[in-house]
Symmetry: C2
């Protein structure tokens, strides 16, 4: 058997306390003893990052400088990396911890949300060569100005995927507190099934539709670099979900999973004069406010006027409303309405491309349950409907059953 190179990333709950850290070391040691080479990437222990952020808030009245926040927060991953390396040595597996800087992770200077520009992994390669397991502090790098930087949300996943790509690893294993990607949120649908295998495209749509297992950014990175991901649980250690390139051979489930998201609001601009360039001006205003617009729907025109609705994260609602009101006044719209009571349910499946009628079946299913559809958006492999928040979970359950997602998967 050829030696495989694995990147194993452990999230905050996986290294939440010393016992878990010993468990992680034990699992890494087993992987090594099976003849694999392993590079470990760790997040900060459990609530460490939150505690450090609280300290920063207490130490300052105004906002803390981004450079200093990065210096502060990166201490968390240093601690967990050192502890994991110690626990490995304790098991007789030679290991050394590396900061982002020591691991050669070079970023831009955009503190608290830096982008990786380049990876110079010679120290990691030296370690692997000498049969030393590198334990890399995730979420961090060093900027072209030689300052400590952090990669922002999902940062440790990004570190792991980027390292896996740069080191040409056979797989990037993402260990978390769930045992994989499910056909729906098991808290909402008890009969939801773990998906053994899913394509990057489907995983992207799921991540973008409210699936919380993987950060959108790291899935994109994995797809771009063709790094197979294996999402699994550090609590059960059982096989999880493989996120891989779609193989032509793969028989495609019509619908792979159902995602739902109750974290958005709907903004409607009423009575917009219906002539060219109006929508453009509206959304330029919104974009300038840095609001992430998701779905956009424009009603058919009546007497030269139309309504335009869009959804945006709850966190952005103030800025979205401000920008929209300004634009509405400018283009002479009648009114702007904010709706905080919405939820979104999405069907995701590569098979949709070749199976018409999925949309119809989705609408019928919701109609049978008396659930009204307020907005619709589709992609080649996704259909999303906005419904009232209070019926969101009913919609997820009804669709999970209608598309028989609790049945054994055909692959």
């Amino acid at each position: 058997m050829p030696v495989a190179l694995l990147v194993q990333k452990f999230g905050g709950t996986s290294v939440g306390d010393v016992d878990r850290i010993r468990g992680v070391a034990d699992h890494v040691a087993r992987t090594v003893h099976r003849g694999n080479k392993v590079v470990v990437v760790v997040s900060a222990m459990g609530k460490t990052t939150d505690d450090l952020i609280r300290l920063a808030h207490e130490a300052t009245d105004g906002p803390a400088p981004a450079r200093e926040m990065d210096m502060l927060l990166t201490a968390g991953e240093r601690i967990s990396a050192a502890l994991v390396a110690m626990a490995l040595s304790d098991l007789g597996v030679e290991a050394e911890s590396f900061t982002g800087s020591q691991a050669g992770i070079i970023t831009d200077t955009d503190h608290t949300r830096a982008k990786i520009l380049e990876i110079r992994p010679h120290r990691l390669l030296e370690a692997i060569e000498s049969h030393i397991v590198p334990v890399v502090a995730g979420f961090q790098g060093v900027s072209t100005e030689r300052d400590v930087t952090t990669l922002g949300r999902g940062g440790s996943d990004t570190t792991a995927v980027a390292l896996a790509a740069r080191l040409d690893a056979d797989v990037c294993e993402i260990y978390t507190d769930v045992s994989g990607v499910f056909t729906a949120d098991p808290r909402v649908v008890p009969r939801a099934r773990k998906i053994p295998r899913i394509s990057f495209e489907e995983m992207l749509e799921l991540a973008a539709s409210g699936g919380r297992v993987l950060a959108l950014r790291s899935v994109e990175a994995a797809r771009n670099f063709r790094v197979p991901l294996h999402v699994r649980s550090s609590f059960t250690w059982e096989p999880g979900t493989w996120v891989v390139e779609e193989e032509p051979s793969m028989e495609q489930a019509v619908v792979s999973a159902i995602a739902h998201d109750a974290s958005e609001v709907k903004v409607t601009v009423v009575g917009v004069p219906d002539h060219p360039g109006v929508a453009a001006r509206l959304f330029r205003h919104v974009a300038e406010q840095g609001v992430n617009v998701d779905m956009i729907v424009q009603n058919v025109s009546l007497q030269g006027h139309t309504d335009i609705s869009f959804t945006a994260p709850k966190a952005d609602r103030a800025r979205a409303l401000e920008a929209t009101r300004a634009a509405a006044a400018e283009v002479g719209a009648v009114d702007v309405i904010l709706d905080e009571g919405i939820g979104r349910v999405s069907l995701v499946g590569a098979g949709m491309k070749t199976h018409p009628g999925v949309t119809a079946r989705m609408f019928e299913t919701l109609a049978e349950k008396g659930i009204n559809i307020e907005m619709i958006s589709t992609s080649a492999i996704r259909i999303s409907c906005v419904v009232r928040a209070e019926v969101l979970e009913d919609a997820v359950q009804a669709l999970h059953e209608a598309f028989e997602l609790d049945r054994e998967v055909h692959q």
Copy 2:
């Protein structure tokens, strides 16, 4: 007034919580607003280091690798440095935190007790030039192998003194939880006085004789590099004790201070054949065990045999005993006795050199109190006596009174 460059070092209690950190920032800001340039050096917050050490013990059964301990522990100073820099910015004082590596502190590869080989302060100088206050994480450096190292006990003091020397600072201020150097431990002698001014040599003898205010190593560094030290309290902010070169002009107190130390044991080798080279062999054995021998006394010889006693730190007693027993057998000594019930009281004063009779007065004072002297050792500016541990504090109090150390100082 010419601009002064100050290095201000704040110990663990001085940055023990967020309120203290804000207090430190306020003090640094005042110093800057008075027109000074400041370089700040910080220890880890309060008990952070102890907590991290505990985590390491819990994560491993065996001893943790030194390299990983250093990676782990240096996180503590990073956190406090970032928080102090934030608090300074919050007061409108531009500040940036620097790790030991970023501050250019290059050490050897002796993890957990590394020695500083060189300081390359160009980033600190750039910051000072741009009116940015550098906040340096103390106690740490980067090795010639590019690994993170720590400087061992008193490490942050060493960082501060070394930086002050390299940057040619006008003074190195050491902020701690006591308001200076006292004529005796105020817990033992309530009337003990703060010493406004003391010479490096006296401070060295005090540090070596059990004074806990400054680490011996950092006083040595300060003397070697002629860096004036100002030891003061971050609780009262009042002027403390200046540790400076002895000026010929300085009228010298006969006795400056009384130190005591109950942290040693006495080892006596009984019936040692009294011929050349025997003592040499004995102490070579002890030295090979890495035991720090302090006082050595050899009795007058009787019938060609003598007794040799020495003191060593309690922590080294097992190794000291083992080495001594081996040596004793080798040289044909009769017995080895360990005495754990001793204490040492020392008189320190530059004036002793020119004032005979100090020794006599010391012995008389102890005799009047019925305190038996078991060992004696002297230097040009120090006299130390070993007495029973239970009468150690009586001895300190009697001597403090006999030498009138509670009177106003003559300088």
